[in-house]
């Protein structure tokens, strides 16, 4: 299955390694954002697109990942790079009891209970000042100042690992079981699949890699606050929308969706006149996509092809 489509990933891989050297600092920044979002989208897709458990609260893991390093620095002045371990690990660990609670709920109720969890985390981190530093957040001085290349290659490595792990899981027994749970949970149980256990097998890496992206964010942006990293609209919801746009349940859909989202956001943000409405345009695009291409660009690729390439029978 993977052997056929190896040309595109290889080309992308080469581009990814070479292009940043040709870009200015500003564009390098955009590229880094793209890679961060690709990582997050892939992580979400593992739980939502493959296992069918749509979480509206993944900002929880992103924020935990970011605060892993943030708290280390805030309390003990330890370098936030240690957060790259602490962040994802504690996000994954917290995911376990969370999953055990929320996986008892189905469909939209699961989605919204995760939303509630994300919001609870945000409120706690905003208000419990002795613990988190409160709404002012955590600020550090950047390890490499304005120099972006090192950050780029770190996040690129993270992204590739994430994609690789997701692909490996997808084409293994785990992947089959995830899809079975997504398609019909009751049938899956009747086939001997312990659905809660396997949902956890999807949740934990999903939380881990989202947390890893968050931990990187802490180190790269050098400033985090609860309002940003635990944000419902800008993080949780956006993770879902980027995956939807590209195609949930596909391997490359999240990559496409994340790229389109970040680039669109930047393009709109900088064009005068449209600047204020970039979120509106994005929301409208999402509405149209859901109405007409509900499985995302890659998910509906056949439908799209048929629109542009008329079948030869017509003549």
């Amino acid at each position: 299955m993977m052997k056929r489509g190896w040309v595109t990933p290889v080309i992308l891989g080469i581009l990814a390694l070479v292009i940043p050297f040709t870009l200015s600092s500003y564009y390098q920044h955009i590229l880094i954002l793209v890679i961060i979002w690709i990582t997050m989208a892939c992580a979400w897709n593992l739980l939502g697109g493959f296992a069918g458990q749509v979480s509206f609260g993944h900002a929880l893991f992103f924020g935990l990942g970011a605060y892993g390093g943030g708290l280390l620095y805030h309390h003990w002045e330890i370098s936030t790079w240690w957060g790259m371990i602490v962040g994802p690990v504690w996000a994954a660990v917290i995911a376990i009891p969370l999953g055990l609670i929320t996986f008892r709920l189905r469909g939209p109720y699961f989605a919204l209970s995760m939303l509630a969890m994300g919001e609870i985390a945000r409120i706690i981190f905003t208000n419990w000042v002795p613990f988190s530093g409160g709404a002012v957040g955590v600020m550090i001085s950047r390890t490499w100042g304005g120099e972006k290349l090192q950050y780029y290659f770190i996040i690129l490595a993270i992204c590739v690992v994430t994609l690789g792990v997701v692909a490996l899981m997808r084409y293994s027994k785990l992947g089959f079981y995830f899809l079975s749970i997504r398609e019909d949970q009751d049938a899956a149980e009747a086939l001997g699949i312990p659905t809660t256990k396997y949902k956890m097998y999807a949740l934990i890496p999903s939380a881990f890699f989202t947390g890893l992206a968050g931990a990187f964010y802490m180190n790269y942006m050098a400033y985090i606050e609860p309002r940003v990293v635990f944000n419902l609209e800008a993080v949780s919801i956006m993770m879902i929308l980027t995956v939807m746009l590209g195609g949930a349940g596909t391997l490359w859909g999240p990559v496409l969706g994340a790229t389109v989202y970040v680039i669109l956001a930047e393009v709109f943000r900088t064009i005068p006149g449209i600047k204020e409405v970039h979120v509106l345009v994005f929301a409208l695009i999402v509405v149209l996509i859901i109405m007409f291409l509900p499985d995302g660009i890659l998910g509906e690729w056949d439908k799209i092809k048929r629109i542009f390439i008329k079948p030869k029978l017509a003549s």
Binding site: R104, S113, I120, M244, V277, L280, A283, M291, P294
Partner: protein, 292 residues
């Protein structure tokens, strides 16, 4: 002791308004089985309509409500008719597509409001009402909230009568219980779902206008309302007006007492915790306990 009663009453008043906001959502959820995350956005649109009327014509929200309600009735109808309905029949990879559509629609509406009115905080002070308090002995009560509470209860009772006594109400309940059977009985379910969404939006608009004299208005306030409405809906039980009322009151009181005795910032956590507890332990909501 007065402090307790004051918090309690404040909670009840707030709860009444939560209830009228939620009753629209519970209707939509009960009949159409869809989760409408655009609810808060609809409220914000209504509030801005009242604001615009206030700024241009000097009309206060208690009059503006009569413009906002039909406006949102229409907007809700159109949304359901031309957009949301499309998505309910399609089976997609992601099971929650319809929820996401309402979410995206909500986002779009809020952004449109932001574009027209900017992100600035606005207030709509109503002379003689806003900021006024009424004293019952030593206990103070916020006047706009009292008015809001009274009107809210009136609207909820009105809805209840409509649903139980009129033919259209019966059609709505039939569609809620079994859409196919309803179709066989001659109910135009397509029309019913559009009307239900319209009525739900109209009630959300009403709740929003009632809240306006007491709150700041800014585009993002919609999100908080959506979540509150949702919590009340789940707490009270889907599709139940009595549930929405009791759920609203419970949430209002819980939040009010929580803010008074614990800490202001954690007020919203209470709602979320209640939400999760209800989902886990009382999934049918309060209506199963009350028996309606």
């Amino acid at each position: 002791m007065e402090f307790f009663f004051e918090s309690l009453i404040e909670g009840l008043l707030l709860g009444g308004i939560y209830a009228v906001v939620a009753v629209g959502m519970t209707l939509i959820m009960g009949v159409m089985k869809i989760i409408n995350l655009a609810h808060g956005a609809i409220m914000v649109v209504a509030m801005y309509i009242c604001y615009a009327l206030f700024v241009t014509l000097g009309l206060n929200p208690y009059i503006g409500i009569f413009v906002a309600m039909p406006a949102l009735f229409g907007i809700g109808y159109l949304l359901q008719r031309y957009s949301i309905r499309r998505v309910t029949e399609v089976i997609t990879v992601l099971p929650e597509t319809q929820v996401l559509l309402t979410l995206a629609i909500g986002m779009a509406l809020i952004e449109i409001m932001r574009f027209i009115f900017t992100s600035n905080y606005q207030t709509v002070p109503v002379p003689g009402v806003s900021g006024k308090t009424l004293y019952l002995g030593e206990i103070s009560m916020n006047v706009p909230m009292i008015i809001g509470f009274v009107v809210a209860i009136g609207l909820i009772m009105g809805l209840h009568l409509f649903i139980t006594r009129t033919d259209l109400g019966k059609s709505i309940r039939a569609t809620a219980q079994d859409p196919d059977a309803a179709k066989y009985m001659g109910v135009n379910t397509r029309n019913v779902t559009c009307l239900t969404f319209a009525i739900g939006s109209m009630l959300a608009a009403a709740g929003a206008c009632l809240l306006l004299p007491a709150y700041y208005l800014f585009p993002d306030v919609g999100h908080a309302f959506t979540l509150k409405a949702f919590i009340v809906t789940i707490l009270g039980g889907m599709g139940s007006t009595v549930g929405a009322l009791s759920g609203g009151l419970v949430l209002g009181v819980a939040e009010s007492l929580g803010a008074s005795y614990w800490q202001m910032g954690y007020k919203d956590v209470i709602g979320f915790v209640i939400f999760i507890l209800v989902l886990l332990f009382l999934p049918g909501g309060l209506k199963t306990v009350i028996g309606r």
